[in-house]
C-alpha cells in the first residue's frame, strides 16, 4: 500500500472547491463523467455516426438506389480486381418459363407487390441500362446490387427496428413495472402472472406465434413483435426499483405533503429510476438489432422489397457456398461494430449515471 508508493504529488487541494460550481444536476454530472471516459466517448461517436447515416439513408440522401442493379452478377469488391470470371449468358441454357403458373386456386401472396412493380416501374426498382460495372467498392450480390448501398440501407432498417422496438418494450416494461411495484398486492400478482406466462414460453416460439397472429410482414410488424415480447426484462427491473423506492423517505414525505399516487409514481420515483431505464433501453437496442437479424434470417423479417442486415445474412448463406463472401462480411462487420459500440456505450452510461451521488 501507501508507503511503498513514490512520493505523491501534493494534492491539488485537500478540499476541492465546489463552491463556484453551479448546481449540476444528475445529467450534467453524468455527462461530465461520460466525457472523462474515453471508451464511452468513442462508442458514443460510433453510435452517433451510425444513427446519422441511417437517418440520411432513411431520408433518401444516401444510397437511395440500393435496388439498382449496377454491377455484374457477384461483382467482387474493387480492391480484389476483376479476377472473377464473367459468366457467359449467351451460351448458357435458357430456362424455359411455363406460360402461366398453376396456383391450385391459391392467391399469389406477391400479386399486389408484383402489380405495383409493373404499374410504377422505377419507383423502387430502378433498371439501369448503362453498362454494368465489373467491380464495386464492396462487391455486388447475385443480382448485381451494390453491397455498400445495401449495407447502409440495411443498417437504416435494422436501427429503425432496434430503436423503435426498444422504446416500445421499455415503455411497456416501465409502465407495468411501475404499476406492479408501486401498488403491490393484486395488481402485482396480475402483472407477475403475465410475466411468468410470457417468460415460460420459449422465446422464438412466442415470436412465431405473434408473427402468425399479426399475419403480415413488414418493418412495423417486426417492431411490434420485438416490443411486445421484449418488455419482460425491463418490467422485472422497474418493479424492483419501484418496490425499493416507494418506501423511501422522500416518497413518504411527498405523501405526507399531499402528493397524489400519480405524482409520487411518475414525478418523484420515475426520475430516480431514469438511469435504469436508459441503460435498459440501450441494452434492448443491442438485443433487438440482433433479434431482427435472427428473425430476418429465419424468414420472419423485413418484406422482400426492403433490405436489412438480417435479410443480407440470409442471402449470404447461399452465396458463401459459391465463395462469394463479401455480402456476409459487409453486413457482419457493420453489425458487429454497431453492437459492440452500443454495448460499450451502455457500460459507460451505467458508470456515468451511477445514482450514488456524492454525499
Amino acid at each position: 500500500m501507501g508507503a511503498s508508493n513514490p512520493d505523491l504529488a501534493t494534492p491539488s487541494s485537500a478540499n476541492p472547491p465546489r463552491e463556484e460550481e453551479y448546481s449540476a444536476g444528475l445529467w450534467t454530472l453524468a455527462w461530465r463523467r461520460l466525457r472523462a471516459d474515453g471508451v464511452g466517448l468513442i462508442s458514443l461517436g460510433v453510435v452517433g455516426a451510425y444513427v446519422l447515416l441511417a437517418l440520411l439513408a432513411g431520408l433518401g440522401w444516401v444510397a437511395p438506389h440500393w435496388s439498382a442493379e449496377v454491377g455484374t452478377h457477384y461483382a467482387p469488391p474493387s480492391w480484389m480486381g476483376t479476377s472473377a470470371r464473367e459468366p457467359d449468358f449467351a451460351t448458357a441454357p435458357q430456362p424455359v418459363w411455363p406460360g402461366s403458373v398453376d396456383l391450385y386456386g391459391l392467391q399469389d401472396p406477391l400479386a399486389d407487390l408484383l402489380a405495383r412493380i409493373h404499374t410504377e416501374p422505377g419507383a423502387s426498382l430502378v433498371l439501369i441500362e448503362a453498362p454494368r460495372r465489373t467491380t464495386l467498392p464492396l462487391g455486388a450480390d447475385k443480382w448485381g446490387h451494390d453491397v455498400l448501398a445495401k449495407t447502409i440501407q440495411g443498417g437504416a432498417t435494422s436501427l429503425q427496428v432496434g430503436l423503435f422496438s426498444a422504446v416500445l418494450a421499455t415503455v411497456l416494461g416501465t409502465l407495468m413495472g411501475a404499476l406492479a411495484g408501486y401498488w403491490g398486492g393484486k395488481v402485482d400478482d396480475a402483472f407477475n402472472w403475465l410475466y411468468g406466462v410470457l417468460t415460460a414460453v420459449p422465446y422464438l416460439l412466442l415470436v412465431f406465434a405473434i408473427a402468425a397472429v399479426l399475419h403480415q410482414k413488414g418493418t412495423s410488424t417486426l417492431i411490434l413483435i420485438l416490443g411486445l415480447t421484449g418488455w419482460t426484462g425491463v418490467f422485472r427491473l422497474m418493479r424492483s426499483e419501484y418496490l425499493k423506492h416507494k418506501s423511501r423517505e422522500y416518497v413518504l414525505a411527498a405523501g405526507a405533503l399531499g402528493a397524489s399516487h400519480w405524482r409520487r409514481m411518475f414525478l418523484h420515483i420515475l426520475p430516480n429510476t431514469s438511469h435504469v431505464i436508459l441503460v435498459q433501453l440501450s441494452q434492448n437496442v443491442v438485443g433487438f438489432i440482433k433479434s431482427e437479424v435472427i428473425l430476418s434470417f429465419l424468414g420472419f423479417g423485413v418484406p422482400v422489397d426492403a433490405v436489412s442486415w438480417g435479410s443480407m445474412l440470409n442471402e449470404a448463406q447461399n452465396e458463401l457456398i459459391l465463395g462469394k463472401w463479401w455480402q456476409l462480411a459487409a453486413a457482419g462487420v457493420a453489425m458487429a461494430v454497431l453492437v459492440t459500440a452500443f454495448s460499450l456505450l451502455t457500460d459507460a452510461l451505467r458508470d456515468a449515471l451511477d445514482p450514488r451521488l456524492k454525499s
Binding site: 511503498s4 476541492p16 444528475l26 405533503l257
Partner: protein, 609 residues
C-alpha cells in the same frame, strides 16, 4: 462498573502507562483519497498519536474527521486503488514500521497482534456460516489448532464474552442472535488470538442504549483481564469518559487536542473540544438554548459545512415584526427552560387505543401477525412537545407513520382538535393533511435527489394551491429558507450539495411551507453530528416558540428527549410502559424498564457532561 471506581483505576493506570514505551506510535500519518484523475481528498492530515501498553486511547471525532480511515490504515486495510498513504507517514508497532512490512507479516499481525471490531455486527458476520464455523476459522488459521481444539476454545471464548449456552450458540447462524450477542461474537473473534491491541471502531453505535452499556462493560473488563491496549473510536464523548484513559480529538483529519481524560474533560483548551463537550444537551439542566459550535469557534475556524450556503444566524434569529413581542427571549446563557404542562392546556391531537399489525410469513404458506403497536393512547397539547422514547423495534417509528397516515392503523382512532381523522393520508382532506407534517430521520433519504431545493420547497405550495404564480412561490420559498437559516443561493442547488444538518433544515422548511400545527420528528436529529444536532434542536425550539407548533418528538436518545420534551412516553415492544411529565419521568421513573433505560445513559466520571 462503578464510574468513580473506574476513574480512580484509570488515573493510576494512565500514570503508569506513560512510563512504559508505546505499543503503537503513529506519526505524521497522511492519507489521500483519489476522487478522480486529478483531484485528491485529504482524509487524514499529519496525524500523530501513541497507544501505550494496556491503555485505552479514544479517537473522537464527528463524521468525516478521518477516525475510521486512521484505524483502517493502521492495519493496511484501505482500498489500495484509491487510497494513498504519504511516504513520510510512520506507523511503528514495537519499533517496526507497519507501512513497509510484507503482506504476509501483516496477515499474521492482524488478529494476533492487532485485531479490530466494527460498527455494525450484522454486516461484519457472514450470514451463511454458523457462529462456530466463523469463530474456529480464525483459530485454526492463526493458532494452527485442530478442529476439535478450536471448537473447545470457541466455546470458552463465547463463555468469556458472556453468551449464555455457548455450546448451542456455536451452531446458530448470525441472524438467530440479537445485535448485542452478534457484537459479543465479534469481540470473541477479535480476542481469540490474544491481540496486544484491539481497535474498536464505533462498537456500540448500532446498538440500543441498554445493550451499549453491557458491551462497554465487557470491553472494559476484557481490557483489564487480557492486559490489552484498546484504540476506541467513537463520536460519543459520553462513552469516552467511561472507557478511555487518553483522548485524541480529531477534526477534518487533524488532531485538535489530545491528553488524558480528566485533562480533556475538565480543562479543554481547543475551542472545538470545548464545543463538543458543550453541544450535547445536558441531563442535569435545561438551558434556554443549546450552545452551538459557532459559540466557540471564530468564523474562520468554523468551516464544518459549506459556509456560503448558511445565512448568518445571529443570537436571536427571529424576524422583526409583531411576533417578537409575543415570545419572551430571556438571556440564553443562564435561563432554564421550564417544561411540563400547565393546567387546562388546549389538546390538539388525541390518539386512542391505536393498534398496528404487520403480517409476516411463517413456513411455506403460513402468515402470522406481528403486533407493532398495542393499545397506544396519547394526547398532544398545542405548542408543547411529547417525547416518544424507545429502543429499536419498540414501534416508535410505526407510531409516527401511523399518526401521519402513511401507515394504516388496524384499530384505534386519531382525533385532531376533536375531529376524527381518517386512517390514511389519502383519505384525509387536503386541509387535514396540511396540519400534520413529518420530518424524517435520514436527511439524505427524505429529499428527492432529482429535485432542486426550489422544486422541493415549492411542491407543497403547489399541491395545496398556495401562491398564485411561480414568482410568488419562489418568494415564499426564499422566506422559508431564510427562516431555517439558509441563504437564497440554496434554491438552485440539489440536495446532494448540502451537509446533513443543512438538508434537515431544508426538510423542516418544506414542512413549514404548509404551516402545520403538529410536526412529527422521527429521529430527526439522530443522524446528525453532535455539533449540528444542537443547531437543529435550537431551530426546532425557535420554531415552536414562534409558531406554537406541537411536536411529536420520536427519539432513542434520552438526553435529547429530556431537553426537548414537555411530556414523555416510553414505548417497549409496541406498548406504552410509562407516560408523564418529562421531569417526573426522568427524575422519578416508576417502571423498572424506565429505570434501566435511564441508568444506561453514558455519564462521564468527571461529571462534566
Amino acid at each position: 462498573m462503578n464510574p468513580t471506581a473506574a476513574l480512580s483505576a484509570l488515573s493510576q493506570e494512565s500514570s503508569q502507562a506513560i512510563n512504559t514505551p508505546a505499543l503503537l506510535q503513529v506519526s505524521n500519518l497522511t492519507v489521500d483519497f483519489q476522487e478522480d484523475r486529478q483531484r485528491f481528498f485529504r482524509a487524514v492530515d499529519a496525524l500523530s498519536f501513541e497507544v501505550p501498553e494496556r491503555t485505552t486511547v479514544a479517537l473522537v471525532g464527528e463524521s468525516g474527521s478521518g477516525k475510521s480511515v486512521t484505524a483502517l490504515s493502521l492495519l493496511r486495510l484501505l482500498p489500495q486503488k484509491i487510497a494513498r498513504i504519504h511516504s513520510a507517514s510512520r506507523v511503528l508497532w514495537q519499533g517496526q514500521d507497519l507501512l513497509t512490512q510484507s503482506p504476509a507479516f501483516m496477515r499474521h499481525l492482524r488478529g494476533a497482534g492487532i485485531s479490530m471490531i466494527f460498527q455494525d455486527p450484522m454486516t461484519s458476520l457472514n450470514p451463511v456460516f454458523t457462529v462456530g464455523q466463523q469463530l474456529t476459522e480464525g483459530l485454526r488459521v492463526q493458532s494452527r489448532m485442530s478442529r476439535r481444539q478450536a471448537l473447545v476454545r470457541a466455546q470458552e471464548l463465547l463463555q468469556e464474552v458472556g453468551i449464555p449456552e455457548p455450546q448451542r450458540r456455536l451452531r446458530d447462524y448470525p441472524h438467530q442472535l440479537s445485535g448485542g450477542q452478534q457484537q459479543r461474537v465479534m469481540i470473541a473473534m477479535a480476542i481469540s488470538a490474544h491481540p496486544r491491541l484491539l481497535i474498536a471502531d464505533e462498537p456500540t453505535t448500532a446498538l440500543d442504549v441498554t445493550i451499549q452499556r453491557q458491551i462497554m462493560e465487557l470491553l472494559m473488563d476484557l481490557q483489564q483481564r487480557h492486559a490489552m491496549a484498546v484504540l476506541f473510536i467513537t463520536h460519543d464523548l459520553g462513552l469516552v469518559g467511561e472507557m478511555a484513559h487518553q483522548v485524541v480529538v480529531m477534526r477534518h483529519g487533524r488532531v485538535c487536542e489530545s491528553g488524558s481524560v480528566s485533562q480533556i474533560f475538565q480543562h479543554p483548551e481547543n475551542p472545538y473540544t470545548r464545543a463538543l463537550l458543550a453541544c450535547r444537551p445536558p441531563l442535569s439542566s435545561r438551558p434556554w438554548r443549546l450552545k452551538t459550535i459557532e459559540d466557540f469557534m471564530s468564523p474562520t475556524q468554523g468551516h464544518a459545512s459549506p459556509a456560503h450556503l448558511t445565512a448568518p444566524l445571529s443570537g436571536d434569529p427571529r424576524p422583526e415584526g409583531g411576533i417578537v413581542g409575543r415570545v419572551p427571549v430571556p438571556d440564553p446563557g443562564s435561563t432554564q427552560r421550564p417544561r411540563g404542562l400547565a393546567p387546562q392546556e388546549h389538546i390538539l391531537l388525541t390518539v386512542a387505543h391505536l393498534e398496528k399489525r404487520f403480517p409476516i410469513a411463517q413456513g411455506l404458506f403460513g402468515k402470522r401477525d406481528f403486533l407493532a403497536l398495542k393499545d397506544v393512547s396519547l394526547t398532544l397539547v398545542k405548542g408543547k412537545t411529547l417525547g416518544i422514547v424507545g429502543e429499536s423495534g419498540s414501534g416508535k417509528t410505526t407510531l409516527g407513520l401511523t399518526i401521519a397516515g402513511l401507515l394504516q392503523a388496524d384499530a384505534g382512532e386519531i382525533f385532531f382538535a376533536g375531529e376524527r381523522l381518517p386512517a390514511t393520508v389519502g383519505q384525509r382532506s387536503m386541509a387535514m393533511r396540511r396540519r400534520i407534517q413529518i420530518v424524517f430521520q435520514n436527511p439524505f433519504a427524505s429529499l428527492n435527489p432529482r429535485f432542486t431545493v426550489a422544486h422541493i420547497l415549492s411542491e407543497p405550495l403547489l399541491l395545496h394551491h398556495q401562491g398564485r404564480s411561480d414568482a410568488e412561490r419562489t418568494r415564499h420559498s426564499v422566506q422559508l429558507l431564510d427562516r431555517v437559516g439558509l441563504a437564497r443561493s440554496a434554491l438552485k442547488r440539489y440536495p446532494h450539495e448540502f451537509s446533513g444538518g443543512q438538508r434537515q433544515r431544508i426538510a423542516i422548511a418544506r414542512c413549514l411551507a404548509l404551516q402545520p400545527e403538529v410536526l412529527i420528528c422521527d429521529e430527526s436529529v439522530s443522524a446528525l453530528d453532535v455539533s449540528v444536532q444542537a443547531q437543529v434542536l435550537n431551530l426546532l425550539q425557535d420554531l415552536q416558540d414562534e409558531f406554537g407548533l406541537a411536536y411529536l418528538f420520536i427519539s432513542h436518545d434520552l438526553a435529547v428527549v429530556h431537553y426537548m420534551a414537555d411530556q414523555v412516553l416510553i414505548l417497549r415492544e409496541g406498548m406504552v410502559v410509562e407516560q408523564g411529565d418529562s421531569d417526573q419521568v426522568f427524575s422519578r421513573p416508576q417502571e423498572p424498564y424506565t429505570q434501566r433505560l435511564l441508568q444506561a445513559i453514558p455519564r462521564d466520571p468527571t461529571g462534566v457532561l
